[in-house]
């Protein structure tokens, strides 16, 4: 376990930078992580996905997969890749302060 300091707050993160405690998250933290990963500004579309991720995680205990995002978040898979390049589910989870989606088993 390591810690990182984002916008003045010390946060506990895992080896890949995912927050260990979703309760430490706030929107400033999200914006700071997004900038670190090359997303300069979070738009309404980004927030739609991020809030969906967090809501699903807090309700079900696991982060949604890209397929679930594409079917249920209101943003289609194609656009998800434009908003969160490379791995949308992973990157949106990182920015949303929840654990890495396990991609099932």
């Amino acid at each position: 376990m390591t810690t990182t300091t984002i916008s003045g707050t010390t946060l506990e993160v895992d080896a890949e930078g995912f927050l260990l405690d979703a309760g430490q998250w706030n929107e400033q933290v999200a914006e700071a992580i997004a900038r670190e990963r090359g997303i300069e500004r979070l738009t309404d579309r980004h927030w739609l996905v991020i809030h969906f991720m967090r809501k699903t995680f807090l309700e079900t205990g696991s982060a949604p997969s890209i397929r679930t995002l594409g079917k249920a978040s209101g943003v289609e898979v194609k656009e998800l890749y434009q908003l969160f390049p490379k791995g949308p589910a992973k990157l949106a989870a990182l920015i949303g302060g929840i654990p890495k989606p396990r991609g099932c088993i």
Partner: protein, 457 residues
């Protein structure tokens, strides 16, 4: 007609079970009206694959004539799915892995052929497409996972079953067998579109066996073999993933990770990812997207957005109603979709159906236990054993230290055990019987955690 009898049963619940007249099963073990005046539970099981069959047999054994057990399936053909992997390499004949479903259901269990239209959990009734209804006291959903190749753009377009194949269906496996026999060289790409899939190790096994098969045919050096996955490694669990990544490298299989397939162009032979990366192929072996059975989406509250039944991962009780349970690939529980899982869930499922009917609190005993052989070619295999909390580790199985099977390590003994597995499947697992010395819960003794670096879980 039996259908008439069911259709007339509009009243539901335990109360109606007391007086419901039941049709005599084909065995003649019970006669019509024999149970009038006694409590007789009505248990409906959707799906007659491994999960539904073993659940039916275990419930029949527990209740005997005190319960009426009805299994519903759309057809009479039970496919031994682990055998599909061997068909493309001519290691098994297609007809050898198909048997009639009814032959594996104990006497006294009724098999109904029909398409499920939907489940109304609030009314404890299953509606079939032919208009009949099946009221139940307890429902067990065991309808597995379906392949959804049409959900990926272009996959079933030009080239489907000519240069683009899947071995996850019997027809597909046979078509691929013919193509592989004629394959002289070029780019062979093995790809999984996205998780979850049935038997997550099967695509890797396909790579290992293809390497062996092409060597046997003397054309391996003309073939560029690549495994393409949306995951960030060969497998989902870190220690096994490192081991399997090494094995791919040893066998000269290239590994392309974090490739999320968006579309397939069979005409020009290209896999295209959502972020516009391209991979050319001459022969593509793909594992299409999976989802739950179509009726799940038509049944209010039953499933998640992929059609898998929402249920408690330890009790297997569905979220939609207390008298609904799920088992096998049909569930949304976070473990592998594999026959061994259905087997290990069997004990918990049957115990909890009993507890529910007796008004007792349920037992949260299912731990996610999974056990898989991984064929690695040249008459060797690996064995892995894991659950929700413990990833596949080196060690011995089933007896700690004594084994004799080594875990997470290639061996001829594992391969020989895998060869015995069809017999075990048809004669032990489907019958709903226990494997001597192998408990439903994962055993930690005898497993060792290797010194690892950079572990995130």
């Amino acid at each position: 007609m039996r259908a008439k009898l069911y259709a007339s049963g509009r009243g539901r619940g335990l109360g109606t079970s007391r007086t419901r007249r039941v049709a005599a099963p084909d065995s003649g073990a019970a006669s019509v009206g024999q149970y009038v005046g006694t409590v007789r539970h009505r248990i409906v099981i959707l799906g007659g694959g491994i999960a539904g069959t073993l659940a039916a047999n275990r419930l029949r054994r527990l209740y005997g004539d005190r319960a009426e057990v009805v299994v519903v399936d759309r057809d009479e053909r039970h496919v031994y799915q682990p055998g599909l992997l061997y068909v493309p390499f001519g290691l098994t004949e297609p007809e050898a892995i198909v048997r009639p479903r009814a032959a594996f259901l104990a006497d006294g269990i009724e098999l109904r052929l029909g398409e499920v239209e939907r489940v109304e959990a609030g009314d404890s009734t299953v509606f079939l497409a032919d208009g009949t209804s099946l009221p139940y006291d307890v429902l067990v959903v065991a309808t597995g996972a379906l392949l959804l190749p049409e959900e990926t753009e272009g996959l079933t377009g030009p080239g489907w079953n000519e240069s683009v194949f899947t071995f996850y269906t019997l027809d597909g496996a046979v078509a691929l067998r013919d193509a592989l026999r004629a394959f002289e060289g070029g780019r062979l790409v093995v790809n999984l579109i996205d998780m979850p899939i049935k038997c997550p190790v099967a695509p890797l096994e396909f790579c290992f066996l293809a390497d062996w098969f092409l060597q046997e045919r003397g054309v391996r050096e003309n073939v560029e073999l690549t495994f393409v996955t949306p995951l960030d490694g060969a497998f989902t669990k870190p220690i096994a993933s490192r081991m399997l990544t090494g094995l791919l490298r040893e066998k000269g299989v290239a590994l392309e990770t974090e490739f999320a397939t968006g579309r397939v162009d069979g005409e020009t032979g290209r896999l295209i990812s959502w972020d516009e990366r391209e991979l050319p192929f001459d022969l593509l072996v793909t594992i299409p997207l999976h989802g739950g059975h179509e009726f799940v989406a038509r049944s209010p509250g039953l499933g998640d957005e992929l059609g898998f039944v929402l249920c408690d991962q330890h009790t297997l009780q569905a979220g939609v109603a207390p008298n609904v349970f799920a088992i096998g690939d049909a569930t949304n529980v976070p473990t592998s979709k594999a026959g061994s899982v259905a087997h290990f869930q069997g004990e918990t499922l049957v115990e909890n159906v009993r507890r529910f009917l007796d008004g007792e609190p349920l037992a949260g005993t299912f731990d996610g236990h999974t056990n898989c052989f991984i064929e690695t070619g040249f008459r060797k295999a690996l064995l892995i054993d894991f659950n929700y909390d413990v990833e596949p580790l080196p060690g011995r199985f089933p007896r700690p230290h004594a084994g004799p099977l080594p875990l997470l390590k290639e061996s001829r003994l594992n391969h020989r055990a895998k060869l015995l597995f069809p017999w075990v499947y048809w004669n032990v697992l489907l019958r709903g019987r226990e494997l001597p010395g192998i408990g439903a819960q994962l055993q930690l003794a005898g497993k060792t955690v290797p010194a690892a670096k950079g572990e995130s879980e």
